[in-house]
């Protein structure tokens, strides 16, 4: 399972669309399952499954089963075989009892599961999933992850794009971190996290955070990096992520002193182990949110 991790606008969906033949590249070449994405586009499409949206991509006035049947036929699957696969997939995504209801009556979670079933209808070698759990409640997201995991355990390849670092860390065997259209790091989650080994992270949630706070902190303490993510612009509520080389506890009094002097109201403060987000900040100097809002 390969994860493509990056902030919104980094180029994840564009890459998926290039690899799945939806976009023609201006330059460069790519192969999927041994087939060239431009010259053998039809072969590529025969061997891949794609889920581009979690809750779109259906005929709302058709039932779940009718939607799957339509795509099965467009994938050249004969009716008898199509019915068998549809039954199996409906069972896998737990939509058997709702299969004959119109899709317009489905919840977001049900639509996402149906989307995965649609992507699997042609028994693909490689499954491309673009942010498959975005906008889902935790239970639905967990179910989607289980289905993806099962597909990978059965020998399938998964190309997953996400900007959810926990999801990438949890699911993926290898991860590429992408920023502004370029891969900035590639490796297993363990290998990537080695880049921030020995660092410690302090996360502060506070209200009244103003521009320039990071500069003030950096003048006072020797930080490895720091980033500010505005959570609520109206109250200036923000999440401050500070990375240290070594132990962070010793710097805590100075940080608190600076924050109090800057009239920042601290709501929550905690020490964390570094995550993939810290890898991203180390490599790009910015957090995902800062990059998205640039």
């Amino acid at each position: 399972m390969f994860g493509f991790l990056g902030p919104n606008g980094a180029g994840k969906t564009t890459t998926v669309k290039l690899l799945t033949t939806l976009l023609l590249p201006d330059e460069g070449e790519a192969w999927v399952n041994g087939y060239h994405v431009v010259k053998d586009a039809k072969k590529v499409r025969e061997t891949i499954g794609v889920s581009l949206y979690s809750d779109r991509g259906f005929y709302w006035k058709l039932t779940g089963r009718e939607n799957l049947r339509y795509y099965a036929y467009l994938h050249h699957i004969l009716p008898r075989e199509a019915e068998k696969r549809i039954e199996k997939l409906l069972k896998l995504v737990e939509l058997k009892k709702d299969a004959d209801r119109l899709v317009e009556e489905y919840s977001t979670g049900m639509k996402s599961r149906l989307n995965i079933a649609r992507a699997l209808i042609n028994q693909p070698e490689t499954l491309f999933l673009d942010e498959p759990t975005i906008g889902l409640d935790p239970a639905s997201a967990r179910r989607i992850k289980e289905i993806i995991r099962k597909f990978a355990d059965d020998g399938g390849t998964v190309f997953l794009t996400t900007h959810n670092m926990e999801e990438a860390d949890q699911l993926c065997d290898r991860i590429a971190i992408i920023n502004r259209g370029r891969i900035v790091a590639l490796g297993t989650p363990g290998e990537l996290k080695e880049m921030v080994q020995g660092k410690q992270v302090l996360e502060v949630e506070a209200v009244g955070v103003k521009n320039g706070l990071v500069d003030v902190l950096q003048k006072k303490i020797n930080l490895s990096y720091a980033s500010v993510t505005i959570v609520d612009p109206s109250s200036f509520k923000a999440r401050i992520r500070i990375g240290f080389d070594g132990r962070g506890e010793s710097a805590l009094p100075t940080i608190l002193e600076v924050l109090v002097r800057e009239r920042v109201k601290i709501q929550h403060i905690r020490l964390l182990e570094p995550s993939l987000e810290d890898v991203f900040i180390t490599l790009t100097g910015k957090s995902f949110d800062e990059e998205e809002n640039r």
Binding site: E46, V50, L62, Y70, H76
Partner: protein
């Protein structure tokens, strides 16, 4: 080869079943489509009477060679309805596919998308046949012009006329892929075709330049041929120049539509327009 044919038929079947299900889940459109030509005919007979007075039918006969105003107008208004539906429907179907997110999913299947959109001719053809049968058969019974051969010939011409109309609709579909909301342009095209095709009057009442233009419209040939069969009870002859012209126009319009759509599709794949809505 056999596998290719089976795959193609599967795709056509999929599109047919899907479209017919979507149409038939809301069957009230049948009433609208069948009633509309009667309403338009009623409207024109009212206007005609106001202008022509007691001599209205006599004047009509002098201009058209038939006193069957009702049937004459019903044929025209039915074909007007059908051409409007076909021309707009592919564009509006693609538009709603874009909004639903199903449009670009077709480009992820191994089925040729040109064939997928072309396969829409069949369900649209079925809708057209239902519309024309539902509208014209009662009127034909009433006017005593009903003949089985006439109905078969009419259906044949209608199916032939759908091909160039589909060519036009592919151009409209290309405009939809490119510009998303091309309805202003579409309305102008539609209005122009409506005026020049002689749906409601013989084309010789038009100015000379417009008559020449109307000759290259497949709708003109279709309406003239179907009127000839149903109103003037003449049988279709393959030597009729209007029939040959309709055949040629079918081919030209369809090829042009297919190629225009193909070009816009390539453009959309290069520029990432397929997913934009």
């Amino acid at each position: 080869m056999k596998k290719k044919i089976v795959n193609f038929l599967l795709g056509v079947y999929a599109v047919y079943v899907k479209e017919m299900k979507l149409w038939l889940r809301y069957p009230t459109w049948i009433l609208t489509f069948i009633a509309m030509p009667y309403m338009v005919t009623g409207l024109f007979s009212g206007i005609g009477y106001v202008i022509g007075g007691a001599n209205a039918i006599k004047n009509f006969m002098e201009n058209t060679g038939t006193s069957e105003f009702f049937l004459f107008s019903l044929v025209g208004s039915s074909l007007f309805m059908i051409s409007t539906i076909i021309m707009e429907d592919v564009g509006s179907s693609i538009r709603s596919e874009q909004l639903r997110g199903t449009f670009e999913l077709h480009y992820l299947t191994p089925m040729s998308t040109a064939l997928i959109w072309t396969a829409h001719i069949l369900p649209h053809g079925t809708i057209s046949l239902i519309t024309i049968a539902g509208t014209l058969i009662p009127a034909l019974v009433f006017s005593e012009n009903l003949s089985l051969l006439g109905i078969v010939e009419t259906f044949f011409i209608l199916i032939l006329a759908l091909i160039p109309l589909f060519g036009i609709s592919l151009v409209i579909a290309a405009l939809t892929v490119r510009f998303k909301e091309p309805w202003a342009v579409v309305q102008v095209i539609r209005a122009f075709i409506s005026v020049a095709s002689g749906f409601f009057y013989p084309i010789y009442v038009l100015p000379r330049w417009l008559q020449l233009f109307s000759l290259i419209l497949p709708t003109t040939q279709a309406v003239e041929l179907i009127r000839s069969i149903l109103v003037y009870t003449r049988h279709l002859t393959l030597t009729d120049y209007r029939f040959s012209l309709l055949l040629i126009l079918s081919l030209i319009y369809f090829i042009v539509g297919f190629r225009v759509f193909g070009r816009w599709e390539d453009y959309a794949r290069k520029k990432g327009e397929l997913s934009k809505y």
